[in-house]
């Protein structure tokens, strides 16, 4: 068998982080994003998922009734993924989205004002508290938004839209940097 160079090319791998006094935009190294699907009415599913996935590794974000994203900073091997699937099936099915979604971190004192240029969600800290997550439109692109800190948000965007989203975010931040 010939020698092949096998390397990952995540979306946005050629983007330089944006830094500035008002806003910082960056993309973390690829980790794991698992889409957990239960029956919509399964009230205990979230607890079940939390107990099966290590909570210090995965953080669980609601997507829709019966659906969550479990996000981890480190990649997951296919074998490990299969093991998790087996632990959860049939009550919860896992679908790997680690390559299908791209993580973007936006933070800084002006981050709320900046995101208000994209989403109609009221991001006031009293309304959208730390840990809140929602799927929404940012500009014309769907994305999943999580508040990870007072001035810090994580955006999960479909990989194919990542570059478009990045460019939009950079434009939205220009005023503040």
């Amino acid at each position: 068998m010939p020698e092949f160079q096998i390397s990952r090319r995540p979306a946005l791998s050629d983007k330089q982080p944006v830094t500035g006094p008002g806003i910082e935009i960056s993309t973390p190294p690829p980790g794991a994003i698992l889409h957990a699907l239960a029956q919509p009415g399964d009230a205990g599913a979230r607890g079940f998922i939390e107990s099966a996935l290590m909570s210090d590794i995965f953080s669980i974000r609601p997507v829709s009734p019966g659906q969550w994203f479990s996000v981890a900073d480190d990649p997951l091997s296919h074998a490990d993924f299969r093991n998790l699937c087996e632990a959860l099936e049939p009550r919860v099915d896992l679908v790997d989205q680690s390559h299908g979604r791209t993580r973007i971190i936006v933070q800084g004192p002006q981050v709320e004002a900046m995101l208000a240029k994209g989403t109609a969600i009221d991001l006031h800290i009293d309304q959208f508290t730390v840990g809140s997550a929602a799927s929404t439109l940012i500009g014309h692109v769907s994305a999943h938004l999580t508040r990870t800190g007072e001035h810090c948000f994580e955006i999960l965007v479909l990989r194919s839209f990542a570059e478009n989203m990045w460019d939009d975010l950079v434009r939205m931040s220009r005023e503040f940097n």
Partner: protein, 988 residues
């Protein structure tokens, strides 16, 4: 008239002179001026020409209702026609030009129209220009079009940026006058989230022209300290230079902020305008009241001005309107102006008051008051020289160079009427008031018919407190004031018709609608307020009748002998004042009109020389040009030939991919496809056809069973999004009892078609599993491991090209490395990348359909899938409408192949099919070519076509008819499969 700058006073900054030009003439003003106040200060009275009669016009107002002082500012892509001089802030280097005049503002040929005015009355154009018929488009219409319109817009692209954003608040206060400031302070102090908006650069509204004292402060200082306090509160946002232009459902308000319209050189990191979408729990309209003009002869001559505007220029800009000033009023507002003029040393020549004995106690000035009198005519050409005052039947001539008028006040209720509510006429207020009790919105102050500063401040406080109460806040209303020295203008009897008029008396200034037009409209049967509007065009100009509508209604009421209540208003519509395309488009235009989707193999394609083509939101590789190739056709021919000879690699990542799990997944899939799926074994793929409920084909694709309860569905690129929505509909709405879970995984996988006789040999070099024909037969579908376990993938033995072929999906980030590896592994086998053009050639050669054929009007049988629509299944989406007569009629369009008789002949998609020797008529139309290409394997152009009863007509000679391009190609209908009809190449 000779307006001039007063030696002191006003809110302008005399230490910051600004130079600007008007019609090429340089002038200076000060920071704090508007273009209008600066023009006045320079004695520039004539600023524009009217629409129809080209009458000389001056500055009438000091705000957004201005109908006359429209100018063009800037040049090139920044050209802005129809800019209101009254709203444009002065800045260094501002260049403004007058409009609708030729050759110059002072000498305008168009003014000749005035002489013809007896023949140019309302609607005259509907009655003539009809003969000879051909002259309309050749002569009359071009003349009319050239004469019509105001400013000239640029065709150049705008170099500046725009943006949009959302905002949320408990209380939105619209208008930062006395009322709005009081309301905002009350709400802000109570801790509510407040947004206060005002269209002017400085908060204060009427306070800025006011000389009363509030508490211990002059009115303008009071406004400034309110604004300072508001700005200091973190829960309050004060937006000046921002106009709320509409009220939409869900209590969403549209507003536009002119971020950088007041600067000569916009900063590049800021937009010039910003669109706000404000979601407000409650909104308070504190939008004030618009002063009404009076309809006397010559009321449009430069020098005639609204009384409130005159007061604004005087007190706010330190500009006196003239030396000999008269005031014509129906209410007390004229007296406030008189007092302030006197304080500036200009004693009015007269105050002409339509009321008898109505001098307010608060007025102690020395002007002569002519009671129970009217101004019947104003005289002058390019500026005012005198007025005729009519009192007790006697007319008196007064020499004046400026005349202020006030016909009462119309509350600014526009926004409150944007959602269908109808304004109510109030005799008591002599005005239309907003419709009552609308959810989410209240009015206060002058907008609600309240007169007097003290009352407005109180109304602002109490309305805000009440609204906050409804939101669960406890507001402690704090009194603001007391107010001293206010001459409150309460309601007074309106004066619609003025006796003794000789000259034209204008109702709608900008559209040149005068009193007689209203009479004519009524006479001709257009007396309904909406018909009168449309027939005369009153209220249809850029100011949307802010000044004129109520006068027109009053006149119609008198004309028809009814009350204004019976006449009613026309409909208030967005936009409160006009909004630019730029602001409403934000950053979404041009290249950014729609988002762009990139395949994980985009960079791979790029480095292999791809030309890209837009496919929905995606960019797909169309072909891969090589050095020396003469054009795209040569590249495409090479790619297609190479697939059938060796192997090709095509990026198909854009296909929709859906993972379907759950205990009832099989049952679900069986119901959404028209063909059978229950018995699909694990490890197998199957072609599936989805219908709409009306029986027509919706989409096609393949679905593979990877595990007992895990399926992988692919859809076409075009219908991917619609299909996912549709499946979710089926799962959630139609059959919520089924345990089925859907996840879109389109972006998770980089997917490659590897097609051609060498494809297996190439793939086997990177795939760890055995993919020999026995181990991995046609339609096999399985998880695979690549590169010795380094990469996870899914392999499908399916073929769109008709060759031995596979589709390989790998985790997206590994897509490029995998494609590189395949090119490397395939090098000795002659692998080449191919694009969607070659893909299309290959599929047309095989008679495979796409959305060119699945065009929303085809049922399965039309495309040769008649037997797929399973009659064995009791139910599937689309089953129940399929049996209608028309869907099985014999002359339905059916899929066939089409070839030219002369193999060198060219034809294209969209050409129609006619029977040989038939006349070219619609009745003889037999169908059309849906897809076509040059087929390098048959050495001819070939096509797919939808032809009446086509499946029974193979072999028939026809004409491929394309009159649009003058291409008439004799051809023959044939089987739609041009290459390997036995499908022997699939299972090598």
């Amino acid at each position: 008239m000779t307006a001039f700058r007063l030696p002191h006073g006003g809110l302008i900054d005399r230490s910051r002179p600004l130079s600007f030009s008007f019609d090429g003439k340089s002038m200076t003003g000060f920071a704090g001026d508007t273009l209008a106040s600066a023009l006045l200060a320079n004695g520039r009275i004539l600023v524009g020409r009217s629409f129809k009669y080209h009458r000389p016009r001056g500055i009438l107002t000091a705000g957004s209702a201005e109908p006359n002082a429209l100018v063009t500012v800037n040049t090139g892509g920044r050209t802005e026609p129809n800019t209101l001089a009254t709203m444009q802030e002065l800045h260094e280097g501002l260049r403004a030009a007058s409009q609708n005049r030729w050759p110059s503002l002072a000498f305008d040929i168009g003014a000749l129209n005035g002489l013809l005015s007896p023949f140019l009355g309302a609607g005259f154009y509907y009655k003539t220009f009809m003969w000879p018929a051909a002259f309309w488009e050749k002569l009359y219409e071009p003349l009319i079009r050239r004469a019509a319109g105001l400013g000239r817009a640029s065709h150049d692209a705008d170099p500046d940026d725009y943006e949009k954003c959302w905002a949320h608040c408990d209380l939105l206060v619209i208008g930062a006058g006395a009322t709005g400031l009081a309301a905002a302070l009350t709400a802000g102090r109570a801790g509510a989230r407040v947004i206060v908006v005002d269209e002017h650069p400085v908060a204060g509204g009427g306070l800025l022209s006011e000389t009363a004292i509030i508490g211990t402060q002059a009115a303008a200082d009071f406004a400034a300290s309110c604004a300072t306090e508001l700005q200091s509160m973190p829960n309050v946002r004060l937006l000046t230079r921002t106009t709320v232009f509409a009220w939409y459902d869900g209590n969403v308000f549209g507003a536009v902020e002119r971020v950088q319209k007041h600067v000569g050189f916009p900063a590049p990191n800021l937009p010039v305008e910003r669109l706000w979408r404000i979601a407000a729990k409650q909104a308070l309209l504190a939008t004030g009241a618009e002063e009404r003009p009076l309809v006397f002869g010559g009321n449009d001559i430069p020098g005639v001005m609204m009384a409130g505007a005159m007061r604004r220029y005087l007190n706010c800009h330190g500009v006196a309107p003239g030396h000999r000033v008269a005031i014509f009023t129906t209410n007390d507002s004229g007296y406030g102006l008189a007092r302030d003029l006197e304080a500036a040393g200009i004693v009015p020549q007269a105050i002409i008051d339509s009321r008898r004995d109505a001098i307010p106690d608060s007025y102690s000035g020395s002007a002569r008051v002519v009671s129970g009198a009217v101004v019947s005519d104003a005289c002058g050409r390019k500026s005012l020289s005198s007025i005729s005052v009519l009192q007790n039947g006697k007319s008196e001539e007064l020499k004046v160079d400026a005349l202020a008028m006030s016909g009462g006040f119309s509350p600014v209720i526009h926004l409150a009427c944007h959602r269908g509510g109808k304004p109510q006429w109030s005799d008591e207020h002599a005005a239309f008031l907003a419709p009552s009790s609308q959810k989410g919105l209240a009015l206060a102050g002058a907008a609600d018919g309240t007169a007097g500063l003290q009352a407005c401040l109180e109304a602002g406080v109490s309305k805000a407190a009440a609204l906050l109460g409804s939101l669960g806040f406890t507001a402690k209303p704090q009194a603001l004031g007391p107010v001293e020295g206010d001459i409150a203008a309460g309601p007074a009897k309106p004066l619609w018709t003025i006796p003794g008029i000789r000259e034209k008396a204008f109702v709608d200034f900008q559209n040149d609608v005068h009193r007689k037009d209203i009479t004519l409209a009524t006479r001709e049967g257009y007396g309904h307020v909406e018909l009168a509007k449309r027939y005369t065009t009153t209220g249809m100009a850029t100011d949307q009748g802010k000044l004129s509508n109520v006068n027109a209604i009053g006149l119609l009421a008198e004309e028809r002998g009814v009350s204004p209540a019976d006449v009613g208003t026309t409909t208030f519509r967005p936009f409160y004042s006009p909004v630019s395309f730029g602001a409403l488009a934000g950053a979404t235009h041009g290249k950014h009109f729609m988002p762009a989707r990139m395949s994980p193999l985009h960079e791979w394609a790029k480095k292999n020389g791809a030309e890209f083509v837009e496919a929905g939101l995606w960019y797909r590789s169309a072909w891969f040009a090589r050095d020396g190739e003469s054009g795209w056709r040569e590249s495409v021919d090479r790619e297609a030939l190479n697939v059938r000879k060796n192997a090709g690699l095509c990026d198909v990542s854009t296909l929709g991919k859906i993972e379907i799990t759950g205990a009832d997944a099989a049952e679900f899939i069986n119901r959404v496809y028209c063909n059978a799926f229950l018995k699909l074994p694990v490890g197998k793929a199957r072609y599936g056809l989805m219908l709409r409920e009306d029986g027509f084909i919706f989409d096609d694709g393949t679905t593979s069973r990877l595990e007992e309860n895990r399926y992988f569905m692919t859809t076409t690129t075009a219908a991917a999004i619609a299909t996912m929505n549709h499946l979710e509909f089926c799962a959630q709405v139609l059959w919520p009892g089924l345990d089925v879970r859907l996840a879109s995984v389109t972006d998770q996988w980089a997917q490659m078609a590897v097609a051609g006789p060498k494809s297996r040999a190439i793939l086997q070099q990177i795939i760890d599993d055995d993919i020999s024909n026995d181990a991995f037969p046609y339609l096999a579908a399985r998880d695979v491991s690549l590169f010795g376990g380094q990469v996870h993938g899914r392999l499908f033995r399916i073929s769109f090209s008709g060759e031995l072929a596979f589709e390989l999906a790998v985790l997206a980030d590994f897509g490029e490395a995998t494609a590189d590896a395949l090119m490397q592994a395939g090098d000795t086998h002659g692998i080449q990348p191919y694009g969607v053009e070659a893909l299309s050639v290959l599929r047309i050669e095989k008679g495979h359909v796409t959305h060119s054929e699945i065009n929303g009007t085809a049922v399965p049988a039309d495309l040769g899938f008649g037997r797929m629509a399973s009659s064995a299944k009791a139910d599937f989406i689309g089953k129940h409408m399929l049996s209608r007569d028309g869907l099985s009629a014999r002359d339905r369009l059916q899929l066939v192949g089409v070839m030219p008789l002369d193999t060198t002949a060219y034809f294209r998609s969209g050409a129609h099919i006619l029977a040989k020797d038939a006349d070219a008529t619609l009745e003889n139309d037999q169908g059309h070519v849906t897809s076509s290409c040059y087929s390098p394997h048959t050495g001819s152009h070939i096509g797919l076509a939808l032809v009446k009863g086509g499946s029974a007509r193979h072999g028939e000679e026809i004409l491929i008819w394309n009159a649009l391009h003058g291409e008439y190609v004799p051809g023959r209908l044939c089987d739609p499969v041009f290459v390997d009809p036995a499908n022997s190449r699939l299972s090598m």
